[in-house]
Symmetry: C2
Subunit: 255 residues, 2 copies
């Protein structure tokens, strides 16, 4: 489904980026986060004093990402998980009294990929507690703050959903940069201009054959038909299906 490319940035950022969860209360959120990062190709998770871990709910919610949980590194303090990191991104929902460089997930992903490409080896993305996020001391350990642009009416995003969005943004932009975005696969070549013109002419014939025409402005209808077929990006086989049908209709009429 993806184009091959020698510069696969996804394989680079996967090794560089770790997801760090601070003081998570619900083991289900840890499991769901493990699944979220694995679906986006990441594999390192660090847990800072989780309230209830290991836990069977974490394993259940991780589905086939329990390997991420098994090898998760557990630390007492955030600093222990980021000591060897050259760049630390903190997720934030609240405004801080002393503002910090703050961006959206897209800009954060851009910066993470650029740093990875220029040789940065260890980057952490840090997620706070379910109820009140990261405290000021923890935010002070970060180089960049990122906020997900939630609705003003209801901004309480589930922890694993925030993890999913960041992981998705990094993977998507790495794919774009690697020229590995979706390549539309089609089973049949598109119809060429000659085929489409023949089809439009045939359509015109049929409309005359069955007296289906606006007598006052006959060209208007055909212009609309033309516009439809021209913009529909019809393929060769679809054009043949229409032509075949029209021929059968004409045979039937002329009998």
């Amino acid at each position: 489904m993806f184009m091959n490319s020698k510069t696969d940035i996804t394989n680079l950022v996967d090794k560089v980026v770790r997801f760090v969860l601070v003081n998570t209360s619900h083991p289900g959120n840890i499991g769901a986060s493990a699944r979220a990062i694995k679906t986006m190709g990441f594999n390192r998770m660090d847990l800072i004093s989780p309230k209830d871990f290991p836990h069977e709910t974490a394993i259940y919610r991780s589905k086939a990402a329990s390997d991420i949980l098994e090898k998760a590194q557990i630390h007492k303090k955030l600093y222990d998980a980021i000591e060897d990191c050259q760049f630390v991104v903190g997720t934030s929902a609240r405004k801080r009294k002393v503002p910090w460089p703050l961006v959206g997930p897209r800009e954060a992903a851009e910066e993470i990929i650029n740093l990875s490409l220029s040789g940065t080896k260890n980057i952490a993305i840090v997620f706070g507690r379910e109820d009140h996020g990261l405290n000021n001391e923890e935010m002070g350990l970060c180089n960049l703050h990122v906020a997900i642009p939630t609705s003003e009416k209801y901004s309480s995003l589930n922890l694993s959903q925030a993890v999913q969005i960041l992981a998705y943004e990094i993977r998507t932009q790495a794919l774009f940069k690697s020229n590995k975005t979706f390549k539309q696969e089609w089973d049949v070549p598109l119809a060429d201009s000659e085929e489409v013109e023949r089809l439009i002419n045939h359509f015109d014939e049929i409309m005359q054959d069955v007296d289906f025409y606006d007598q006052e402005n006959p060209r208007k209808l055909l212009t609309r038909v033309r516009r439809f077929f021209k913009r529909s990006k019809m393929d060769h086989m679809e054009a043949n299906i229409f032509r075949g049908l029209f021929s059968s209709i004409q045979k039937k009429i002329k009998k």
Copy 2:
């Protein structure tokens, strides 16, 4: 946190887009999806023959989005939920034998916003069963297929996470188009060139005062100091803090 703008596209797409979940097995996923769409400003959810709904787990997982569950429309067949829709997007993980126009979430969001801006009133995004997605008949009711670019090694995304990603993409692009992306707020104006030059000179003085200099290549060090202060986007108050500290150091030394 956002810039004000008269053309707020988020308020437009919120009214146009509905999220449709087909044959969902786990009520927890329905609740989590309700929360996911509400955090991104959406409010309409349609459920096609859910296995186990209403259910207290759905309410629990929806947190403060139980209003979305209460007003969710329940139908027997997918067609009943999309009958009045001019554009239907189907989420797909699998390749289909007869390929359909297939894009990533970013391109799908772009198309949804463009259609909303050009007056399309009802757009549906359809999500399939947890275990095997949408069937071919259901996919055939869609105009566009969207696939989230998951890892080749593990592609099983949780249903509510897929909902979250689509909702996030639409909101993010609507904000970009409305010029309502994050505006960095800073409490103090940035230092001007004169302040930064004075600071660098002061730094130079201090280095001489304390004999902190590479004798063989004294300018090299200062070039690095200059580069640091120039690229750090220091603000006025930060520059004053450094200048004040340097003055205190000089006073102490000269005593």
